[in-house]
Point group: C2
Chain length 377, copies 2
């Protein structure tokens, strides 16, 4: 496996466009469209919030068909808590994209991110989609168009060999607040030219996400719009991955690395973030319990403010772990701290409940987080 360039356009046979449609208050890009030139398989995971945005409802339904040509995204407005009108707007985004691409309307995924509860300015959005289609650009244009409070775009691409053919997995992500993805991160999109059966693509995605984009938190808040999708068009010409063989393992490993890179980029660019905090939990009963402990620590405002001071206050870590109702006492808890770099903190926590381990990533809690979220109203 090695790195490649141009993020979501690194794989063969994909195009993308972006437009500044005026959904955001300034001239920034706020519409992105990425598509495969040929029919493609797809898999996606979405937020587990019980309150879901209209585009999530639509995309869940469409990805179930297993065939997806494109993802259309707007930033600046979440199209969430917008009722029937919101559902019609999401459908219009899919319909327009399908018409432009000559695809079926069920072959389109839609994603939105931004403020909750405001009607989408659908005329601007539709004009933006047309503009994005008519002027294809770079992968970074698309990665920039999906941003909200992110300070920079986040793209990744890896290549590896499968069945004697070089395949590429590339993608991008956004999200720096309202971030504790549960099934997916705020928004992340991946493309690959690998040929792979839809059900294995789905399985690979879930496997890759569990320890990467589903193991991060910025502020413990699971968004209503989380969407992570991957589109595979098979243009690499590899023999299709149709069973869980070594090729599948290579694919998962590469996909996991791409997702991990994106996850760490997201955390490092968390709202107001100055530190990357990695929490390794060992000695738990099972993976879920290890992750629960990791999330308790990474969501503690006391741990996060201590991290902002570039230290780990182990009293606060112990306090946090003690609230979980698990059989963990002063005598069965070990806390160690490493400072591998000035902007990195590693917290190693060992309990005595079993052999399982997990790693969770977060950032510090700074005054800038407060500023950003007071102003974002």
């Amino acid at each position: 496996m090695k790195k490649a360039d141009d993020g979501i356009l690194a794989a063969k046979g994909f195009k993308a466009g972006a437009a500044a449609a005026g959904i955001k208050s300034d001239d920034r890009l706020d519409i992105g469209l990425v598509w495969s030139e040929t029919p493609a398989a797809a898999a996606a995971v979405f937020t587990q919030n019980s309150i879901v945005a209209a585009p999530v409802v639509l995309s869940r339904r469409n990805v179930a068909g297993g065939k997806v040509r494109a993802v259309v995204v707007n930033s600046g407005n979440a199209n969430c808590m917008t009722g029937d009108e919101g559902r019609r707007h999401a459908q219009a985004m899919a319909d327009d994209s399908a018409a432009l691409l000559g695809a079926g309307e069920k072959e389109i995924l839609v994603a939105s991110t931004g403020i909750i509860g405001r009607p989408l300015p659908i005329d601007k959005v539709r004009a933006g989609i047309k503009a994005a289609f008519e002027k294809p650009g770079t992968g970074d244009d698309f990665a920039t168009a999906i941003m909200t409070t992110d300070t920079h775009s986040k793209s990744v691409a890896y290549t590896c060999e499968i069945g004697g053919k070089a395949i590429v997995i590339g993608g991008c992500a956004k999200g720096s607040g309202m971030m504790q993805p549960n099934m997916a991160t705020m928004l992340a999109f991946l493309t690959t030219d690998a040929a792979i059966a839809t059900e294995l693509l789905d399985k690979a995605l879930r496997e890759a996400v569990r320890t990467t984009l589903n193991s991060i938190t910025i502020d413990g808040c699971t968004s209503t719009n989380d969407t992570l999708a991957i589109i595979a068009n098979g243009q690499a010409g590899n023999p299709s991955i149709d069973e869980e063989n070594d090729d599948y393992k290579t694919f998962v490993e590469t996909l996991r690395q791409a997702c991990l890179d994106l996850a760490l980029m997201l955390v490092r660019d968390g709202e107001g973030a100055t530190m990357l905090v990695t929490v390794n939990v060992r000695g738990a009963k099972d993976y879920d319990q290890a992750k629960q402990i990791g999330y308790a620590i990474t969501n503690s405002p006391l741990v996060k403010t201590a991290a902002h001071g570039k230290t780990a206050n182990w009293g606060r870590i112990a306090q946090t772990v003690g609230t979980l109702g698990l059989d963990i006492t002063e005598d069965s808890l070990d806390v160690g701290v490493e400072n591998p770099a000035d902007d990195e903190l590693i917290i190693n926590v060992t309990v005595q409940l079993g052999d399982a381990e997990a790693t969770v990533y977060t950032c510090d809690l700074s005054k800038d987080y407060v500023d950003i979220n007071v102003e974002y109203n």
Copy 2:
């Protein structure tokens, strides 16, 4: 029921002293001792954190005896995660207090608050206890001695009539960070001259606390040292409350009001707080579920930063409620907001799961919270 003066010394037959023993880095009061001049009943509730400080272990054991003469408290050091030495130090605090008062060592409750994981400077503490005993002071001296990051002391007292006699319930509390009490607040102590059976005192305390000191949060972090105790010495001369009659109801009502006043004082003085945020949840399946929803909202950093901007962002409230895995969707959630004062926000949330309701109180999340907790290391 009406208000009375002098907090923890408002009831008959109680004395208190305080001393600056040098546990804190400056000359502030850091030892408090409050005692009944005569034998007294007691009840207490403690943290549910599985990691508990040495004084909590000792006080849990002693209060089980039902007879308590005094509470001795130090601030500046939590005596938590301090092993066997910490347990000996807590015992020494009880032994010294018992000797000074001519009481049994099991008639003393001990509480500590401050930084976790540092050995208690026991010689200073012992000298401080002696000084506090030898120079009794005001209720406010005691209330001041138990403070850590609190910006002011917090005292309350109410009087009511029971069996033709005026009885008094008074007390004080501290705590402004690491605050989501679970069974009790960080530290709160109450005294009463009412005569009441120990088991009813215990029941009354739990009843009063559930909707007051156990319904607040500052940062969602349950301390290892939470302790709430009440001592009743019977000096008001009322016929002893020995059954759940109208006298008991009057007692509970007065006690609940005292606890609510303290709870709101704590929240208003939360670290960096500028706003009191009251979240009323209606339409839940039962009280616990209503409280769960209330706590989810009051612990959301996005809701709390919005509150700092003096508004309630209802998209963020919906997002938070949606993460709970309950059957709550866009169509079954109603959110209303009131602004009764410039420093108060009331959030009314109605769901459609049943008839139960609960109220939870919190403060906003400000840059000062970050400053305080970066520096407190």
